[in-house]
């Protein structure tokens, strides 16, 4: 019996808003993160990731209120990242309601924080996010600040090191693919998934359901983080019921002009597709209803 693959909506948050970075274009506001989170929880998301995407610039995570509101009504694991620098920062977001924290910049600047944090809060609480960019010679190097800052650190060596230091999981993001909808970087994910024995979450590039299957089947990802495919499905399906006063440029999104690379899909449809291809994943009653209805 093969293990169950986790499907994890990733919500990038700026201030009070859910945003989505479009490759080489910048951020667009999609709506309120809590609304999207609630919908994903109800439709069978296995975990959630909240990333404060501007936190690094200010060196502080500003999601505490959103985390608190989320944790009151959502009982699946919530990982929070962005701008966490110290053991105290980690404690604060755990206290607010996060179950795990995601570290990138802080871990690269001071790898010892991985050991300290995993001792203090348990390995399973510490997720290391690695942002990778493929170099002309084929190697992958780690970056910080959404691919803006070069570190010179080689991704596979870094993955092995963070495992040794006590990280519980690795989330590997391809900056080249992020927001493009062209599919995951299979080579990158496969290399990392084979380099470590801790679980690896693939992130960056999903544009349609079958990309998710590919990164599981072909690269051995243990979990998959998805943003646009899910977010655009909500925007599409809740078009009428969403508050018209909602901040954001949704009419632009709905027009579909620049998002032809993304084919939206909901959580039940994703899991149905994976199951049909022999990939085990958790199903919930709402998904069973979905299947019964189709």
């Amino acid at each position: 019996m093969s293990k169950n693959i986790r499907i994890i909506p990733r919500l990038d948050i700026k201030g009070p808003n859910l945003v989505k970075g479009i490759h080489l274009e910048g951020l667009r506001v999609l709506g309120k993160p809590e609304q999207f989170a609630r919908s994903y929880y109800d439709s069978g998301a296995d975990e959630l990731v909240y990333m404060d995407v501007v936190a690094s610039l200010y060196e502080r995570n500003s999601l505490h209120d959103i985390i608190e509101r989320t944790a009151r009504e959502i009982f699946i694991p919530l990982t929070v990242g962005g701008g966490l620098r110290t053991i105290e920062d980690i404690r604060d977001v755990l206290r607010a309601g996060a179950d795990k924290v995601s570290l990138n910049t802080a871990a690269i600047k001071n790898p010892q924080i991985i050991r300290d944090a995993s001792r203090k809060f348990g390995s399973s609480t510490i997720l290391i996010s690695i942002e990778a960019i493929r170099q002309p010679d084929g190697r992958y190097l780690a970056y910080t600040d959404n691919g803006r800052e070069h570190t010179g650190i080689e991704v596979l060596a870094w993955a092995k090191q963070v495992e040794e230091l006590g990280a519980g999981e690795i989330m590997i993001t391809s900056i080249d693919r992020e927001g493009t909808g062209r599919g995951f970087d299979i080579d990158l994910t496969k290399a990392v998934a084979h380099a470590v024995t801790i679980p690896v979450i693939a992130c960056g590039g999903a544009g349609e359901i079958d990309h998710i299957r590919q990164v599981i089947s072909d690269a051995g990802a243990d979990a998959v983080a998805i943003a646009s495919v899910l977010h655009y499905d909500i925007i599409r399906s809740q078009e009428r019921s969403l508050d018209e006063s909602n901040e954001g440029n949704q009419s632009f999104l709905r027009s579909g002009r620049t998002f032809s690379s993304i084919t939206p899909a909901g959580m039940p449809a994703i899991k149905e597709h994976l199951s049909r291809h022999g990939i085990n994943c958790r199903t919930t009653r709402s998904e069973e209803k979905f299947r019964a209805g189709t």
Binding site: K3, N4, F75, L94, R95, G97, G122, T197, C281
Partner: protein
């Protein structure tokens, strides 16, 4: 110190994040208190022993904080007890985690590590992180979880797990559920008298997991009424 009625002692022995357990208790109307004070424990109506991390460190902390006898006495008093994750493993006699460690020995049995090599020679990811199904123990012939905190949960329901080690109780009748991870079938919860403990995290297992906290709350409230 005057204990509030329905007070739940959530044991703080410096092993991981207690906040999600506290939130789950509040969600079902319980009154959780994070504590390592034997007097507070003694005056509480129920106990949750949570925890993530290493077995050896955990036992060392329990000994240092003088909590071993408090926990044993509390369980012996017959009040409702729930262990979560490491809180299940610590109930066992011993663990093989990084050498040999003695546990609380409330349930006779052992704690062993998942093999990183599967039956077919494939690498198995350890820790297990994610959702997995819980099944009724086949040996007992039971067809539903009737008399434990799993009451009302469907056989084969998914729960959220994060762990590298699992428990093997000597007496298989103490196992309330089994789970299969990459070919290894193991005991994923125990139920015995006033003790319920599970390897998975019910507070992270969506509405189905929260049923366990709801059942725990009903049990605590039922006992309150009986004692009035």
């Amino acid at each position: 110190m005057q204990a509030r009625k329905g007070q739940i002692a959530v044991i703080d022995y410096q092993m991981g994040n207690l906040f999600s357990v506290v939130r789950a208790c509040k969600q079902v109307g319980l009154l959780p208190v994070i504590t390592s004070d034997p007097a507070v424990i003694q005056s509480s109506d129920a106990m949750v022993l949570p925890g993530v991390g290493a077995f050896g460190d955990a036992m060392q902390n329990l000994v240092r904080l003088d909590l071993v006898s408090s926990i044993r006495d509390f369980i012996a008093s017959g009040r409702p007890f729930m262990g979560v994750c490491l809180g299940l493993q610590l109930l066992m006699t011993e663990s093989e985690e990084f050498g040999h460690h003695s546990g609380l020995d409330i349930i006779q049995g052992r704690v062993v590590k998942f093999s990183t090599t599967g039956q077919d020679g494939r690498t198995v990811k350890v820790p297990q992180v994610g959702w997995n199904r819980i099944y009724l123990p086949a040996q007992t012939g039971k067809t539903a979880w009737q008399d434990s905190l799993l009451h009302g949960i469907r056989e084969g329901e998914f729960m959220y797990f994060i762990h590298s080690f699992y428990t093997i109780p000597d007496d298989v009748r103490m196992a309330a559920s089994f789970t299969n991870y990459e070919g290894t079938e193991y005991c994923s919860s125990v139920a015995w008298n006033n003790v319920f403990a599970c390897q998975f995290h019910p507070e992270k297992s969506s509405t189905e997991g929260m049923k366990i906290y709801e059942n725990f709350a009903s049990l605590v409230k039922h006992r309150e009424k009986e004692n009035e």
